[in-house]
């Protein structure tokens, strides 16, 4: 209308229409955003954060003295995995006399705790494949892993891992290896063996009372809530006795 008849009245109509149009868009966006936030689930919360704050920039280690990726990798390896003296060389591996053979149930238990979406290591085999293999032939994985347990030997090929370097957010500069962290992806076969050993050690420790009765971390059936309850109980006990209580938290 304003193009056909460019009068001041039409111009004011154009302005008010335009204002209404953009206001409607802004209010629709605001309402949609409020709806999205009100129906946010624990998963979609991170999507909301990404929308609100944008993607963090990708940072590369800009380390002094390391000009190409090989040198950067070497510097990071030296920082995160400093070289240690080699362990004493064993001439022969002795089989443990009172060793309990590995059963397929133990492997099943270890596999049941493993996530199919967990990132695999250098051999790219996920847990889902080992679960299928174990379902088809339950004796296979025990016969592969049992000799290692029987001789107390962890082969070097199971210690090889993929290292994914991630930047720590909010660091003032990224020219030091300490501004990054490494996620180590071991072979899934190695992690199955580790789980079996962990469950055996945990069972032995419980039987022999090697673990403090109030140890809550890394034990099945115990959680942070239990630790908080124990702390609250101790504090109240001391308050009843009219003691002053202070707590020291240590991040080891």
């Amino acid at each position: 209308m304003f193009r056909l008849n460019p009068s001041p009245l039409n111009w004011s109509n154009v302005k008010s229409s335009r204002r209404t149009y953009f206001k409607a868009i802004a209010s629709a966006k605001k309402a949609h955003w409020s709806d999205f936030l009100s129906s946010a689930t624990p998963r979609s919360l991170w999507t909301a954060k990404r929308f609100a704050f944008g993607r963090p920039p990708q940072r590369f280690p800009d380390l002094p003295g390391a000009s190409d990726p090989a040198e950067i990798a070497e510097t990071l390896l030296d920082h995160f995995f400093p070289s240690k003296p080699p362990p004493p060389l064993l001439l022969r591996l002795a089989r443990y006399e009172d060793y309990t053979p590995l059963t397929s149930e133990e492997v099943s238990r270890a596999l049941s705790k493993s996530s199919n979406t967990s990132a695999p290591g250098p051999d790219h085999i996920p847990y889902s494949v080992w679960k299928s293999v174990h379902r088809i032939k339950p004796s296979l994985l025990p016969s592969l892993l049992d000799p290692l347990l029987a001789h107390g030997f962890h082969p070097p090929s199971l210690k090889k891992a993929l290292g994914i370097v991630l930047d720590k957010p909010g660091k003032p500069s990224y020219n030091s290896p300490s501004s990054f962290r490494v996620i180590v992806l071991l072979r899934t076969l190695s992690k199955i063996l580790e789980r079996v050993v962990t469950s055996r050690l945990s069972a032995q420790a419980t039987i022999c009372s090697l673990i403090h009765p109030l140890q809550c971390g890394s034990l099945p059936g115990w959680s942070t809530a239990d630790a908080a309850l124990v702390l609250q109980h101790n504090v109240e006990c001391f308050h009843r006795l009219r003691y002053k209580v202070s707590t020291l938290f240590l991040d080891m």
Binding site: G54, P57, S67, D68, P69, R92, L140, L144, H151, S157
Partner: protein
């Protein structure tokens, strides 16, 4: 996007081409999107895109599927950006080099086996935007910082905002233009950089009808161009900027690509079941040493993983690709 890898033969493959695009986007999102959509007209999509004056909002660049963007760190609005193709980033290591200014950014492409059939393991690509300033050298980055003696291939691409007779022999230069540009060209020639532009191929067509076309977008390479640069051209259409995108095609880098990984979700469990019926683990050595035990485990686990891998199809570069 077109699959531009050769099929794998003997668990290895080479890139067919290594195109690099350079363009001044004038800070416009429309120009940026038009540029990336125009790549469909190229025979091979670019692996690196060096952009000057990229559009940005709160120092965050626009994204485009298939590319990762890199910009100089804050403070200051980024004046240059480099977009690296995810395909390139999956197969070669790419790391950024910052120069302490928002007008200049480099990306190092690294291959441990060497690139372009030479022992050079790195290729450095620098994106540059020389802004006009009022004090000498009258451009925002000193010429000595642009060109240096490097032992590996180095490409310097950008909007230099300089006129020189080598790039535009038909232009009559003023004394001032010649003085400013001579310093930069001499700094380039001292460490043996070569100009890649084809003379008289204009890269900027001003919007007004008064000014003449010019060659402001320059590309320099530090070794003999024929050794790794295949061509410099402007095949892409004008896309809203007064600059024309330049495409620098490098020779195929002749790199060994990693073999495709198995698609475990498509593992043929029926065939695996039949194969596992007859599969047995070798007997462990009776009185093993650490070495013999290691060897036994490696052989046994490799036999098992090979059996599994042989029953899983290989992953394709993208879901729409043809099977290997």
């Amino acid at each position: 996007m077109e699959n531009f890898f050769t099929r794998y033969t003997d668990s290895s493959a080479v890139f067919l081409s290594f195109p690099i695009v350079q363009h001044n986007c004038l800070g416009s999102w429309d120009v940026f999107l038009s540029l990336f959509h125009s790549f469909t007209t190229l025979p091979h999509p670019p692996l690196l895109v060096a952009i000057q004056d990229p559009p940005s909002r709160r120092s965050v660049l626009p994204t485009f599927p298939g590319f990762i963007s890199f910009v100089p760190p804050p403070p200051g609005r980024p004046r240059v950006a480099i977009y690296v193709s995810r395909t390139l980033n999956q197969h070669l290591s790419c790391s950024t080099v910052f120069h302490g200014t928002s007008d200049m950014l480099s990306v190092d492409v690294f291959s441990p086996e060497g690139l372009f059939g030479s022992p050079h393991r790195s290729l450095r690509v620098t994106s540059l935007y020389l802004l006009r300033i009022n004090s000498p050298p009258y451009r925002s980055v000193l010429p000595e910082r642009l060109f240096s003696f490097l032992s590996y291939p180095h490409l310097v691409l950008g909007d230099f905002n300089l006129h020189h007779l080598l790039a535009d022999p038909c232009r009559s230069l003023s004394e001032r233009e010649f003085t400013i540009s001579r310093r930069y060209f001499e700094a380039a020639f001292e460490p043996l950089y070569h100009l890649l532009n084809t003379p008289v191929v204009y890269t900027r067509f001003p919007f007004d009808t008064v000014s003449r076309p010019s060659v402001l977008d320059l590309a320099f390479a530090n070794t003999a161009p024929s050794s790794f640069v295949s061509s410099w051209d402007t095949p892409l259409p004008s896309i809203g900027s007064d600059h024309v995108p330049c495409v620098i095609t490098l020779n195929p880098p002749a790199i060994m690509l990693p073999p495709p990984t198995p698609h475990w979700a498509l593992l043929d469990l029926e065939a695996v079941g039949k194969a596992l019926d007859t599969f047995t683990i070798l007997h462990c050595p009776a009185r093993p040493t650490p070495n013999s035990m290691s060897r036994w485990f490696d052989i046994s686990s490799t036999r098992l993983t090979s059996l599994l891998t042989s029953h899983a199809p290989s992953k394709r570069p993208c879901p729409r690709s043809k099977p290997w």
